[in-house]
C-alpha cells in the first residue's frame, strides 16, 4: 500500500462525502426509507414479544435494504455524467478507487446504523445494556466494513453498463448472508435479547472481521476488471 494510493483513496472518499453534503440524497431519501422499513416491520410482526425479540434482525434487514440503495446512489454519482469514465481515462488506480468508494460508503452506513439503532430503542424497546456497548460498537463497525466492501465490488460491476442495476440485489444478497447473520447475533448478544450473554457475541465479531478483510482484499484486486466496461 503506497502513500500515493492512500492519498488518492482519501480524495475519492472526501469527494463522495462532499457530494452527499451538497445533495443530501441519503439524508432526505434513504434515511426516511430505512425508518419507514422499521415501522413497516412493526405492522407485519405486530406488537408484543415478537418485535422486541426480532429487533436485532430487523435493524440489520433495514440496513441491508438501505445498503442496496446507498450503493446504487454511490455509483449513480459516478455514472450520471460519465465521471467514472473520466477517472478510467485518467488512469486513476482502481485499488485506490475501490478503497475510497468503500470508505465513503462505510461512513455513510455507520451514520445510518446509528440512527436506526436509536430508532430501534424507541420503536422496538431494544435498550442497550452498559456491558454490551463495546460489543455493539465493534459489531456495527465490522459489519459496516463488510457491507461497504461487498457493496462496492458489485456496485462497480453493476455501474459498468446500462440495464445492470437490477443485477445488484441478486449478486449482493446471497453473499451478504454472513453479514446479516453475524451482525444480528452480535447485536442480540449486546442487547441481551433472549438472555444471551455478551460473550456469545464475540465469535460473530470475529466472523464479520474475517469477512470484511477477505472481501476487502479480493475486491480491491478485482475492482479494476469489474469496472472496465
Amino acid at each position: 500500500m503506497t502513500v500515493g494510493r492512500l492519498r488518492t483513496a482519501r480524495r475519492i472518499a472526501a469527494k463522495d462525502l462532499l457530494v452527499e453534503r451538497r445533495s443530501r440524497v441519503l439524508v432526505n431519501q434513504v434515511l426516511p426509507f430505512s425508518g419507514l422499513v422499521m415501522v413497516v416491520f412493526a405492522f407485519a410482526l405486530g406488537t408484543g414479544g415478537v418485535l422486541e425479540r426480532s429487533a436485532p434482525g430487523l435493524i440489520w434487514l433495514a440496513v441491508l435494504f438501505s445498503t442496496l440503495i446507498t450503493v446504487q446512489r454511490s455509483f449513480a454519482i459516478e455514472t450520471a455524467d460519465g465521471a467514472l469514465e473520466s477517472l478510467r481515462v485518467a488512469g486513476v488506480d482502481p485499488v485506490a478507487l475501490f478503497i475510497g468508494k468503500a470508505a465513503a460508503l462505510a461512513c455513510e452506513l455507520i451514520a445510518l446504523i446509528t440512527v436506526l439503532l436509536g430508532l430501534a430503542v424507541v420503536l422496538y424497546g431494544a435498550e442497550p445494556r452498559a456491558e454490551g456497548i463495546v460489543l455493539l460498537v465493534t459489531t456495527a463497525i465490522s459489519a459496516t466494513c463488510a457491507l461497504a466492501a461487498l457493496g462496492t465490488i458489485y456496485g462497480g460491476l453493476a455501474a459498468g453498463g446500462p440495464g445492470r442495476e437490477t443485477l445488484l440485489p441478486l449478486l449482493i444478497l446471497p453473499v451478504a448472508a454472513p453479514v446479516l447473520i453475524g451482525a444480528t447475533r452480535g447485536v442480540e448478544a449486546a442487547l441481551g435479547t433472549d438472555r444471551t450473554a455478551v460473550s456469545e457475541g464475540w465469535p460473530w465479531v470475529g466472523l464479520l472481521t474475517v469477512f470484511a478483510v477477505a472481501v476487502g482484499v479480493s475486491g480491491a484486486l478485482a475492482f479494476g476488471t469489474l469496472i472496465e466496461d
Binding site: G161, A177, A214, T225, E228
Partner: protein, 260 residues
Amino acid sequence: MTPTTSPQPTARRATGTRATRVLGIVTLVMLGWLLLFGLVLSPADIDQGDAVRIMYVHVPTVWLAYLAFIVTAVCSGLYLFGKRHSLGFDRVAGASAEIGVVFMALTLISGSLWGRITWGVYWQWDARLTTTALLFVTYIGYLAVRGLDGTRERRARRSAVIGLLAVVEIPLVHWSVRLWRSLHQEATILDTDLDVDIDGLMLFTLFSGVIAFTLLFVWLLLHRTRTIALDDLLASRGLDRAIAERRAEVSSSSPSGGGS
C-alpha cells in the same frame, strides 16, 4: 463415384463424436440401472422406509453440483492466471456452472421432497440446506454476469473474477451458517438427520448413482463446452462478414471529395 478435386467442406457433425456417443449410451444404461436398483431392487431402510430411495438421486446430484462449481473455479483461475488467457477455459467454466446450477436445482427439489417425508416439512433451516440454497443463488448470479454484454475477452475476464470471488465467499457463507445453527439449536423432532444405516445393496445403489451422474456430468460438459465453442466461432465468423459489409459501405457511399 464422382471425383472431387478438393474436399468439400462438410458441416454434418454437431457436438457429438464417436467417443461421446459411446459415453452417452453408457450413461443412459447407468441411469436406467440406477432407476432399477433405486426404485425396485434396493431394500427399504429400517428407519426411513422407502423414502431412502430419494437418496440415490439426491446425494449424487449434490456431489456433482459441488464438483461442477469446483471445475468452474479452477477454470476461472486457469483463464485469469494462465499465460495465454485461453478462452477454452472460460467455456469450460461457463458450461460447468450451468450444469452445476441444474444439478443443484435437482438437489433442492429431491431434498425438499425427501424432507417432506422424513421431517414432515419441505424445508428446514439446517446449515447444509441453507448453504446449498445460497450457493445455488450465487451461481445463478454468476450465470447472469456471464450473460452481460462486452467483448468476448472482457466477458471472460469479468466472469472469471466473479467465479473466483464466489470461491472466497462460499467458505465464509458456509462457516457463518454453521455457526448460526450450532449456536441456535432448536430442540425439536426436526433435528433428525438424513443419515441412514447403509447396508451392502444400498451402498452399491448409491455408488451406481454417483457413477451414473459423473458420466452424465462429463457428457453434458463436453457437449455444452462444444456448443459454446461453436457459438463463439459463429460470432467471430459473423464478425468477419460484418467487417466486410462495413468496408463495403465505404465504396458505396464514396464521399464527394469534401476535404480539400
